[in-house]
């Protein structure tokens, strides 16, 4: 019976195990994915509501299996642990075979082993030599090549093999051979980086899995909200403290956010600055094994840092500006008019219960002011971007808000992941491994040269259709190499 050419990896029993654990992990991940789509993450907070909707049994099931957060559930962790252990054991017990598989070339034991090969069977070697005899076999018979009457001289075997090996080397195949009983048994292979690459990739994935597990136990993450100028203890241990010197939201003219920048200083116990720099999205700052990320920000929705208001006195040719800070009255010089800032709304909206700020983003800053002239007090809103909507006071003064600096809080994430070197190592190994594995295209050709026959068969390949074509060309090439008189 014709044998299929072997493809890589079939002879490892553990391949079956690998498929089983990968399938289990796939199933569990798909289930978890589905759960995140179907079960809202706020299940625990709104348990009452869901109890009504899904009934006691349903809610109990969701809770038991932690379907609102499936990837931290016991069952998913158990599957991950299983995967990790099997994977580790597989690699530990088989690393040698895994690395060496494509590096090792073994000459065939005999010609019959090759004659059974299906891939070579599919190619009619005889036709290559012009004699269409209908026989479909892998053998190139010297009889066909040199004429039946001729018997090659005793050196012919070695000479022929040398020609074949040289030809194959030119094609990128490295040949090894063994001599026995006046015959030469050879194997020629290419794409030998595949197995080492494959091993590195598996090792990389193992490292990444390990890094994930280590990270989830040893990593931590903390948030601090800090106002400009404020100093807070730096997580995790408060040995150092963190001062935010400045926080800025850079925007384009269209008010789209370009960048968030916190300028921070790290202070030691004595208050001396030991480190500092700027923190931006995508540009975390490193300090003592932890990283500081620009994670969020907010605006004090009740107060502001300072505001500048231009005024014009109606009926007089007097203009000027005043600077307002929270809670401080400012008298317009030469008049009895006093301006007092009130509430501040970074994103002003008028609701049914009065004004409120729709967000912490200063997209419609509004300052409430009180204008006092003698006993009369008027209140009104001044809008930074929509001065036309600002209050027109009865008091003969027009006010225009020209600048208003909110009080920003920057939200910094302080975190540490001791496993990140393991993870980066994993990414590196994995990438190198993939490159080696997929840039190589392993193929093996085996053959036997003896005084009567040359048998060549393709024994291993990844892509049969191309390999068949290539073998055809190689058969023709070998024929020409043999026929040439060049030594």
């Amino acid at each position: 019976m014709a044998e299929q050419p072997k493809r890589s990896g079939e002879h490892f029993i553990s391949q079956r195990l690998a498929v089983i654990v990968i399938a289990i992990l796939f199933g569990a991940s798909a289930a978890g994915w589905l759960a995140t789509e179907l079960v809202p993450a706020n299940f625990i907070e709104k348990k009452g509501m869901y109890l009504e909707r899904w009934g006691a049994a349903g809610s109990r099931l969701v809770e038991l299996l932690r379907l609102y957060d499936p990837f931290h559930s016991f069952w998913y962790r158990a599957v991950l642990a299983l995967f990790f252990v099997v994977f580790l054991l597989c690699l530990l017990t088989r690393w040698r075979q895994l690395i060496l598989k494509s590096l090792r070339l073994e000459p065939p034991r005999g010609a019959d082993e090759l004659r059974k090969n299906k891939l070579a069977m599919e190619y009619t070697w005889h036709s290559t030599f012009g004699g269409e005899r209908g026989a479909r076999g892998p053998a190139i018979r010297y009889g066909d090549l040199l004429g039946k009457s001729q018997t090659p001289d005793p050196d012919a075997v070695a000479k022929s093999f040398a020609k074949i090996a040289a030809y194959l080397r030119g094609k990128g195949y490295r040949a090894v051979h063994r001599e026995a009983d006046g015959a030469i048994y050879f194997a020629a292979g290419t794409g030998r980086w595949r197995s080492p690459g494959n091993f590195l990739f598996h090792l990389g994935i193992l490292a990444i899995t390990l890094g994930g597990v280590v990270g989830s136990f040893t990593g931590w993450k903390d948030f601090v909200y800090v106002r400009e100028g404020q100093t807070v203890p730096l997580p995790p241990d408060s040995v150092f403290s963190l001062r935010v010197d400045d926080f800025e939201i850079m925007t384009t003219k269209e008010m789209e956010v370009k960048e968030y920048v916190s300028t921070v200083s790290i202070l030691d116990r004595a208050g001396a600055r030991v480190a500092g720099g700027s923190v931006q999205v995508n540009r975390p700052m490193k300090f003592g094994g932890r990283r500081l990320y620009q994670s969020q920000y907010s605006v004090d929705e009740t107060s502001f840092k300072y505001a500048r208001v231009d005024y014009a006195l109606r009926g007089r040719i007097r203009r000027g500006s005043i600077d307002l800070t929270p809670g401080a009255d400012v008298r317009i010089t030469g008049t009895s008019i006093v301006v007092t800032p009130g509430r501040f709304f970074p994103d002003f909206r008028m609701g049914s219960e009065g004004p409120y700020s729709a967000s912490g983003f200063p997209s419609n800053p509004c300052l409430e002011v009180a204008v006092k002239n003698g006993d009369e007090t008027e209140r009104g809103y001044l809008f930074l971007y929509h001065p036309d909507f600002s209050k027109k006071f009865l008091t003969p003064i027009d006010l225009v808000l020209v600048h208003c600096e909110p009080i920003f809080y920057t939200g910094l994430e302080v975190s540490s992941n001791p496993a990140s070197p393991i993870l980066f190592l994993g990414f590196l190994l994995g990438t190198i491994g993939l490159a080696l594995m997929y840039l190589s295209n392993p193929r093996t050709i085996k053959g036997v040269v003896d005084r009567e026959t040359l048998v060549i068969a393709g024994t291993e390949c990844r892509w049969k259709a191309s390999f068949e074509k290539e073998l055809g060309e190689i058969g023709e090439g070998v024929r020409r190499a043999l026929a040439s008189s060049k030594e």
Binding site: I22, Y260, E468
Partner: protein
């Protein structure tokens, strides 16, 4: 916003892809070489317009075209077209166009439904080399998976006894195309979607992995293809099964794409 140059180019390329699809279909029925060549030329023309559109978009928005769902769809379909052209050049079989061109058309129609404004400004988090590597590789990988699925469809509809011809590849050759496309897609997906993606997440959000729906979606896709390759290597999923599974894999990828559209999460692209 006025219809800009890039949008015009995309529409033109869309109509030309559509025409190519019509011709590929006629070609599939009539098996006349001239029609196939015409379809291929149309396809190449559409691809050129598509490329020009992406370049125009890049220039207009001043950043590579990946930052909105619309741009991502255009880049991904471009990668599909590119992968298809590669395979055509290598194997000289035009019949794949019958399956690849409608997929392109579907993606482009989906894209046309998305908001198109070119934003000059990326969300700060998207401002990173890792992000660009992540998205480019993931898009090319998905393009390769689509080609594998396309070849899988041709494999399944091809009649068993149909003679191999210049037009219709043999089952062996189709299997090879699927297998090669998977082995282009898999490493790119691994490096791009998973490795670069988590490095980007680490620099932007401080954690490599946060189990957000899009991330778990790509994990599921990746595990599926890992399973598929192992089964293939050990001789189980070959031939018809390989063809069917490459289509299933693509189905899972589509689910992840749709999940992202409806669910958002960290990967809700700006503006979409």
């Amino acid at each position: 916003m006025a219809v800009s140059l890039d949008t015009n180019l995309f529409w033109l390329s869309f109509w030309l892809y559509l025409a190519a699809f019509v011709f590929f279909s006629i070609f599939a029925a009539a098996r006349t070489r001239g029609i196939g060549v015409t379809a291929t030329v149309m396809f190449l023309g559409a691809f050129a317009l598509h490329t020009a559109g992406l370049a125009a978009r890049w220039v207009i928005s001043t950043h590579p075209p990946f930052s909105t769902m619309y741009e991502y769809a255009l880049t991904m379909s471009w990668a599909v077209a590119l992968a298809f052209i590669f395979i055509m050049a290598r194997f000289r079989r035009m019949i794949l166009g019958v399956v690849v061109s409608p997929v392109l058309i579907i993606v482009l129609v989906m894209a046309s439904l998305l908001p198109k404004e070119a934003s000059k400004q990326l969300m700060p988090a998207l401002h990173s080399y890792w992000f660009y590597i992540h998205v480019t590789l993931a898009a090319v990988a998905e393009g390769a998976f689509i080609v594998a699925a396309g070849a899988g469809i041709v494999y399944l509809v091809r009649r068993k006894r149909e003679a191999e011809s210049e037009l219709m590849p043999s089952h062996d050759l189709l299997e090879e195309i699927i297998s090669r496309a998977l082995r282009i897609g898999y490493p790119l997906f691994t490096i791009g979607a998973l490795f670069a993606g988590s490095i980007w997440a680490q620099t932007a959000w401080g954690s490599f992995w946060s189990w957000d729906p899009k991330e778990t979606g790509s994990l599921v896709i990746w595990l599926f293809y890992t399973l598929l390759l192992h089964q293939n290597v050990r001789g189980r999923w070959r031939g018809k099964m390989l063809a069917a599974m490459s289509i299933v894999g693509f189905g899972i990828a589509i689910l992840s794409f749709l999940g992202n559209l409806f669910l958002g999460g960290m990967h809700a692209y700006t503006g979409a």
